[in-house]
Symmetry: C2
């Protein structure tokens, strides 16, 4: 099973953008993915215009009503099957606790879903370490960490490695991970500086592919589209295609 | 008293960058501010290289040891007085609850501090709604909401107004607020589109000043500096100066 958690506790680094566009590459290569939106702010769900009227038809129901994921799935033609978020996800830790039962519910839900209809899974995470993002990591077979090509994001990347290391005893394995630079602007010297510093920090876990700063990538969500539907010839689309090939080559997607 | 909470639950919109650079404008106009870092990721604290060895000398001690803020303050020459964050702040809600005593502790702490040594207060918030950011809003006399000039950030801005409205019954007042566009890139059409959409959404609460996309603003944190120390003649420095004047003119700073 292929389940990729797209996680970084630093905010605004391109987690949602990367989930959306990697899903589009998967769909175009004939592998319709599940898109799991584990962010109470539901940005991915809003881009796809599928914000549920009530929490009962969102991922929140996985916790509040032990709903099966099959009943929550919303097909989005040409992209995959969305498991929509809702603001109520904010309350999962205070309502259901932070114990192993809560932390493993998403993993168990995905195992049941895959048994019926297998497919790759992409999980978009919220920008903090908590029950929701830990559930995503517990359910994942690998973690993709987008790092925006700027210094504050670089400062945040060091804390991810630390967080993932502290989970190894619980997961009883070292979760394969890749870091990918996003919003990479070749016109600025700082891009190369950040790249070499990140490589020093994480070594071969750094993807060779970088996602360029690209206006098509920034524009497509406003039309509810991925970058391929918006402008397949754009630099951003090419970069996400290359990222997919690199992750596939590494056996992570 | 002047206390500005710099808040947006959307990640990566320029909260920390704005706190840092507004503090520098205040300092340069002779009003040394308190900088309160209420983000467990402690980005502001790290830029100023003041990450405490133990939580006992950070804002966490306000909760765990009822420390006075005066004992936690770290002077940063030329900028102001930092109240440093620590990763343990993550645990404030599970250790001390989410009740009024916890939610008002920062406000009470700041009242005591100002009684001894008054000064303007800037509070940098984490990218989610919880005990920490609510404490900041409860302590504030106004809220500044940075909105990055992109569609996903615009999508997030609507949720802020919603969150602030839901607090009005508890605060027994409508908290004055201003939205400021950050990373505004005049070379892209989408900047003006976002500006007009945000104005439709929030009306006169939108600042006339925009903060331009500016490499000096992106670079200065890597050297532990604000944009004025790094390059006072930069476009970013001018924009933050103009923002300060606009907020001062509105009686918010
Ligand atoms: N390659 C890119 N080129 C241009 N803009 C980009 C690129 N990647 C992301 N962005 C912009 O950066 C902003 C932040 O991206 P996004 O919202 O995907 O980050 P995130 O990590 O999911 O944020 P959050 O932490 O709030 O969930 C978006 O509005 C998007 O438009
Ligand atoms: N005016 C600007 N010009 C260029 N880059 C900017 C500007 N403002 C912010 N940035 C860059 O955007 C990134 C995000 O900004 P910052 O970390 O301040 O946002 P934040 O809202 O505090 O993020 P978080 O939600 O993670 O706390 C920073 O790395 C910074 O370099
Ligand atoms: Mg996101
Ligand atoms: Mg910040």
């Amino acid at each position: 099973m292929t389940r990729l958690a797209i996680f970084n506790c630093k905010g605004g680094v391109g987690k949602t953008t990367t989930t959306l566009n990697l899903a589009a590459v998967l769909a175009r290569s004939g592998r319709l993915p599940y898109l799991v939106d584990m962010d109470p702010q539901a940005h991915l769900t809003r881009i796809l215009d599928k914000l549920p009227e009530t929490p009962a038809t969102s991922l929140f129901a996985l916790y509040s009503a032990s709903a099966t994921l099959r009943t929550l799935v919303q097909a989005h033609p040409g992209l995959g099957y969305l498991l929509p978020a809702h603001g109520q996800l904010m309350k999962v830790d205070s309502l259901f606790g932070k114990g192993p039962a809560t932390l493993n519910r998403l993993r168990h839900g995905l195992e049941a879903l895959e048994a019926e209809l297998p497919g790759p899974v992409l999980i978009d995470c919220c920008p903090y370490v908590g029950v929701l993002s830990l559930s995503a990591v517990f359910a994942a077979s690998a973690v993709l960490v987008p790092v925006s090509s700027d210094y504050l994001s670089l400062q945040g990347a060091k804390q991810i490695d630390h967080a993932l290391k502290s989970l190894e005893p619980v997961l009883k394995q070292r979760l394969p991970r890749r870091y990918v630079l996003t919003r990479f602007d070749r016109r600025r010297r700082m891009g190369e500086d950040i790249r070499s510093r990140l490589r020093q920090e994480v070594g071969d876990d750094l993807c060779d592919t970088v996602i360029s700063e690209n206006v098509a990538v920034a524009m497509s969500p406003s039309l509810g589209q991925d970058v391929f539907s918006y402008q397949a010839s754009s630099r951003g689309a090419q970069d996400y295609q290359a990222l997919y090939q690199e992750l596939q080559g590494a056996g992570l997607l």
